[in-house]
Amino acid sequence: MSAYTLDAQQEMLADSARNYLSRRTTPKHDATQADRQATESSRWAEMASLGWLALPVPEAYGGLSGSMADICALAEELGRGVVSEPYIASAVLAGMLLADVAPPSVRDDWLPALADGSRRLALAVWEPGARSDWTEVNTRATQDGADWRLDGNKVLVLGGTGADGLLVSACISGSKDLGIFLLPAGGQGQRLVAQTLFDGQGAAELTMARATGASLLHRGEPSAVLGLLEVALDRATLTHCADTVGAMAQAFALTREYLGTRSQFGKPIAANQVVQHRLVDLFVEIEEARSLMRMTASLYADTGIDKVAPQRRHVAATKAFVAQVARHVWEESVQLHGAIGMTQEYEVGAYVKRLALAVNLYGDATFHLERVACSSLDSSAIRALKVEKTFTAHHHKETTSAPSS
């Protein structure tokens, strides 16, 4: 098995995705919320019919049981085609988490619906004022008979608008446990405010005040539940890296083409050595990013017991690296194009914005560098101590700031 070259099936998947996406009109990144939602739902159905939504879903639930390498092969094309639908957020992040943690009845209910595109799911994991640190959970869940009530605020719910259900992380009142809840969209006590991110994709802010209707999918000690969330976020982070690699490759291709065509001082801009060397730097960094991303995806083929630590380390390194390269690529794409690179209507702008968002989405370079540092520099004793601190923090909140009901 090759870690770096797509196999025949992945090649087919990537080709068909590229074909389909090149035929579809480029989404306008200044589209209104309503416009976007209308086109999104018809495109979601197309994505289902192409089998993309079934790719991450296990075969037993009507899916294709695709590997991370398969999913990443597709995601590269989604980035290249500036797809703004929440594929990663729904199918990879939330859908695969549900498959990991939900009891059988919930899986039976949801997974076939996710695979055929009839339902969408989103994960509400980040909270206000904590950067990308999803381990800080202030949302509370209180049991109320057979029902659960949720209180708290979540931000950056990717694909939250139009989702049929929301997976929510919350502290469980009266215990030290954390839980993962499934909250059907539109119930009482929840307010979902739609947002358009600067690259055109949709997200939402979720406010829960005695929100009703939530069911508990999984509960456990904070370290265990955070571990499950981390695995889910790592899969999405890696897939998002693949998406970013595809977008970087296309931004680079557009820039290179432009510089080869536009003449100044009587010769193509790309004939200047200073420009050539800068293009080479971008090219080399993108190639390294792709190699690292594919290598990391191939680690997921290993089902051994000790697979999680190397996966975590590699995903963190991949995202830290991709974030830095993405910033370099988008800034150079603007600079090397000149003023045309700053316009809303010129094609490269869509990539510039996507890459600028990618730098910070799912944690920026510093966030993931610290994770790499933990794996490279900390002894297991220090690592255990850091988890202990997380425990204490949750316990502390529980005892001092439990909301009155």
């Binding site: 870690a3 004939a271 090219f283 390294e288 190699s291 690292l292 290598m295 191939s298 390194a317």
Partner: protein, 395 residues
């Protein structure tokens, strides 16, 4: 690298070979980053040769082991991680393979067994005072007189010339044709009358390279490799040899291990450096770059294993691997701070009676200066950029 089960078994066997067979004093000297010296290098070459591991990548008929590209990479990496000294690429990776590919049977018989024994050293007479990156403009002349050439000129930046037995050398045999077409490839005995070697001490403290003056040096025609005026093809192919090795993953890991040792042995503000945020961020950033380099090299290894040409694109490994070494060295110097400032040249060169210095700090600044050579030698980073721009991106 992405090890298969087979490769990982191979890695383990190489690791235990090195830990069992490498003499302790050499291991210690290398760990400190000091010079091992010719005598001890020859002893280590002997041990490797006895186990068939000095030239495992050579053709089997000349004593090679038929190592795959991936095995070679793993072996190099384990040598670096096991604190074995870096082997002389000019001797084992350059002239050896050139003789196997372009030498005639007499030349092969004469030199290959000696090189394979590990007791003969070579240097590379390429650069000249006015021909560095622009190698084809070299002017050292060779005039054919009867059955020998008379060579006059000078070479510079010739690493190891002060102790080399032989030099392979590019000389101009025709001044009337285009620069690249008038060059021949000669093997020159360094004991020949007319050769003067002037060591050049580097900013790192010792003479790593030399200036070599050739004054009417007689070289038998039988020591020309390939056709007269056909030297450029050989020189170019030589630059392509072992290009995967130029990722220098093992050499990067060697330095990573030193940075790690500093992280756990030095303190700041009451904490080990390993816990200081600035150090963690910089270390992790280099770690990510190393993982990316390794993954990228894996892509080319896969290509080479499949028998596909690796192409000019592989220049990116040299470009990135050489720069990364410098970044590790800089991190080590910064992490040590004032400790890295004193420099004892006698100790660096393993002179008898030298005052012992700190094992990591004592060589840090010297190594940092020496590492600047990685982005200059073997086609500078600017040349690698040009190669990628022209041959890969077609700019």
């Amino acid at each position: 690298m992405f090890d298969t089960a087979e490769l990982s078994a191979f890695r383990n066997s190489m690791r235990s070979f090195i830990s069992e067979q490498l003499p302790d004093d050499i291991r210690q000297t290398v760990r400190e980053g000091r010079q091992v010296g010719l005598e001890r290098m020859n002893a280590w070459h002997g041990i490797l040769a006895n186990h068939g591991l000095l030239i495992p990548h050579w053709q089997v008929e000349w004593g090679g082991q038929g190592f795959s590209v991936a095995q070679q990479m793993v072996f190099d990496e384990e040598m670096a991680l096991g604190d074995a000294p870096e082997l002389n690429a000019i001797t084992f990776d350059m002239i050896g393979p050139v003789l196997q590919r372009y030498g005639n049977p007499a030349q092969q018989q004469r030199f290959l067994p000696d090189i394979a024994s590990g007791q003969q050293w070579w240097c590379q007479g390429y650069s000249e005072p006015n021909a560095g990156s622009d190698l084809a403009s070299l002017t050292t002349r060779a005039e054919l007189v009867g059955d020998h050439y008379v060579v006059t000129g000078s070479k510079i930046w010739t690493s190891g010339a002060q102790y080399a037995d032989w030099m392979f050398c590019l000389v101009r045999t025709d001044r009337e044709v285009r620069a690249q077409q008038g060059i021949s490839f000669l093997l020159i005995d360094m004991k020949s009358p007319g050769i003067t070697v002037r060591p050049i001490v580097g900013i790192h403290g010792w003479a790593v390279f030399n200036e070599v003056f050739l004054d009417q040096v007689e070289v038998p025609v039988s020591l020309r490799i390939g056709a007269e005026n056909g030297g450029w093809t050989i020189a170019k192919s030589l630059l392509e040899f072992e290009r995967l090795k130029l990722a220098r993953i093992g050499e990067n890991k060697r330095r990573r291990a030193r940075a790690l040792a500093v992280a756990h042995s030095r303190r700041e503000a009451g904490h080990p450096l390993a816990e200081r945020p600035w150090f963690r961020e910089r270390f992790a950033e280099l770690d990510c770059r190393l993982m990316a380099l390794e993954a990228n090299a894996g892509r080319f290894i896969e290509r080479a294993q499949a028998g596909e040409p690796i192409g000019a694109e592989v220049s990116m490994l040299k470009l990135r691997g050489s720069r990364l070494i410098q970044l590790w060295e800089e991190l080590i110097v910064d992490a040590l701070g004032p400790e890295a400032m004193p420099l004892d040249n006698d100790w660096l060169q393993s002179q008898a009676g030298a005052e012992p210095q700190d094992r990591i700090a004592g060589t840090a600044s010297s190594r940092r200066f020496l590492s600047r050579g990685f982005t200059i030698a073997g086609g500078s980073s600017e040349i690698q950029h040009n190669i990628l721009a022209k041959q890969v991106l077609a700019l």
